[in-house]
Subunit: 350 residues, 2 copies
């Protein structure tokens, strides 16, 4: 069932000759960060690697400061999703031959600011020169307070939460790739990873995943790993980020598109067993965090949302595979394909 998703299948194909480390606690796909039990201890290392390649080539990230910021946040977010304490990050910077010194400075400043913001440090890295700029980060953290939270473990009846409202990542992508230069406002998109929130929810959550590939992609992956479905029981506009809401209204796009696009944000989707909900909310309150309750886990293997007056069953596999079939493609085509797919969603009146 995982293999119905092109991305999962590609990863499995690439990994099939690799021997799994005996001290690795997570299986393939089961965790946002790799979980390595340090031999002879009760400490779990959390390791993750994330690159920024297509985002630079397509022009999605054009501001050097944002590129630096994002390479840290993309990796920090995976540590957040397993509730790890971050130690730091190693970064490979492949610069284009003709990059200006001032652009390098902005990248470095973005990296440092994002590290400061996430309680991380740059521990090391590598630099190279190529025709094409790209960045790869590898973040490391650790968990010494029991079992880490992974993507696997939720059960029908668990409550579905998000760390904050969704869709800002896709709103940014639409603005950056879809609007003309004159329509773009200056970039103020600097998403934050949910490190402290991740550590807090890890004590209660039955599963957790970040939304870096979009909200529906996260729900779809959780569904496949847990053999469970999800019912979103509140209207979309109650948990869509204001930036995403405004984007849809001004361009006359449906709200669900902001949950479907592949450029997510670094929020967390997670599930809490009913009996732990009160303690969880008290713990969240102690760090001044207001997680957003959006639905629950169900046995039925569907993902349904409330859209206007309808209950809509979302083809999340279709949503994910449209992107995978043409990852660096034209954003206009991509939106049209998503909208056409949306017409096939099963809808019924409330």
């Amino acid at each position: 069932m995982l293999n119905q998703i092109i991305e999962n299948y590609s990863i499995e194909t690439l990994a099939r000759v690799f021997t799994r480390a005996p001290y690795q606690q997570n299986k393939l796909h089961q965790s946002d960060a790799e979980l390595i039990r340090l031999p002879g201890t009760e400490i779990t290392l959390a390791l993750t690697m994330d690159s920024i390649v297509e985002e630079i080539e397509t022009g999605l990230y054009s501001d050097p400061y944002l590129i630096g910021w994002m390479i840290v946040m993309a990796n920090a977010s995976d540590l957040a999703a397993v509730g790890a304490r971050p130690l730091g990050i190693l970064i490979n910077e492949t610069f284009s031959k003709d990059i200006a010194g001032s652009a390098k400075d902005k990248i470095q400043n973005g990296i440092e600011a994002a590290c400061f913001n996430s309680g991380m440090y740059v521990l090391g890295g590598d630099t190279n020169i190529s025709t094409q700029m790209e960045m790869t980060g590898c973040a490391v953290g650790y968990i010494d307070t029991g079992d880490p939270v992974t993507r696997k473990g939720c059960k029908a009846g668990d409550i579905l939460y998000i760390s904050d409202r969704m869709g800002a990542g896709n709103a940014f992508a639409v603005k950056q790739l879809y609007l003309s230069d004159s329509q773009k406002c200056s970039s103020n998109y600097l998403p934050q990873s949910r490190i402290i929130e991740g550590q807090t929810l890890a004590r209660f959550a039955t599963s957790c995943m970040d939304t870096s590939d979009g909200f529906f992609a996260a729900l779809d992956q959780l569904k496949r790993i847990n053999h469970s479905g999800f019912r979103l029981e509140y209207p979309l506009d109650s948990f869509i980020h204001p930036l995403a809401y405004n984007c849809c209204k001004s361009l006359n796009l449906p709200l669900w598109l902001m949950l479907a696009g592949h450029h997510g944000e670094y929020e967390l989707v997670f599930t809490i067993a009913k009996e732990n909900e009160d303690s969880f909310l008290q713990a969240a309150d102690r760090i001044n965090w207001k997680p957003v309750r959006i639905g629950y886990v169900q046995e039925e293997l569907t993902i349904s949302m409330l859209d206007n007056e309808d209950t809509v069953s979302v083809d999340t596999a279709g949503v994910r595979n449209i992107f995978a079939e043409n990852p660096g493609g034209n954003v206009q085509d991509y939106i049209i394909k998503l909208l056409n797919l949306g017409k096939t969603f099963n809808r019924r009146k409330l």
Copy 2:
């Protein structure tokens, strides 16, 4: 003094805005791998990141199996140089759009074979698509047996050793980039990292560094970090690798060129205090390893070698900066520049 080397200066410039992690044990330049004291424990994590970019773009690595092999070995070698026990590696693979499935398979097989060979596992990673293939690895290991060995710590009088004979990496580069296709033999170059040797020498060595950027580059960096010089007291042909020796003889190149070229191998250069030499050699013998004694550390800040009948003072800064000034340049020009620099080395008869 470190900053006389273009590469050191570039790294310092990139790193200057970064806050150093309070639990990082090594300073910039002082270690092949980053050494992170895991808070609340006596365990040191060893982390390193190394990429293969220019090697692919210039055609130095054209065989996909070799590319997979090298991304593991380049990183494993840094763990070896600090005496760490390896845990594994995360790898970002950026594939070109048109890569064949069979080439991907060969890369994965090369990665798996190199991991098996180094006692490592692929723990995770990322994949991307770009116009240009590139690979980034991040290896992790740990040290729970006291202080790790770093590049810093040798003193005048310490004995200088290498893990095996030198120059095979540069011989491969000459064959791959300098000879015509008809002159090239099929690739049988698969260098090994010195993981077990590194763990063995770590109990005795006062400093250690791998030769991945060439032997002279390693000696030069050790010289700058330790404010000491080195005297190579045996003729070059006694510690030049047979592949390098044959390469020089057939192309009428001087032997020292195989120590100067930037494409080193994954051998280790290290120093042992005189009083520990016997115990070190006994420990090496127990793992059937024959380290090669080549000279000693001296107060005089020079690096001298025995070349034919001469004692030659090598301008290792010049050697390193020639490469840094034109990293992706033509290999023929590079060799001519090195040979011209060689004419300026201070020589005197024995």
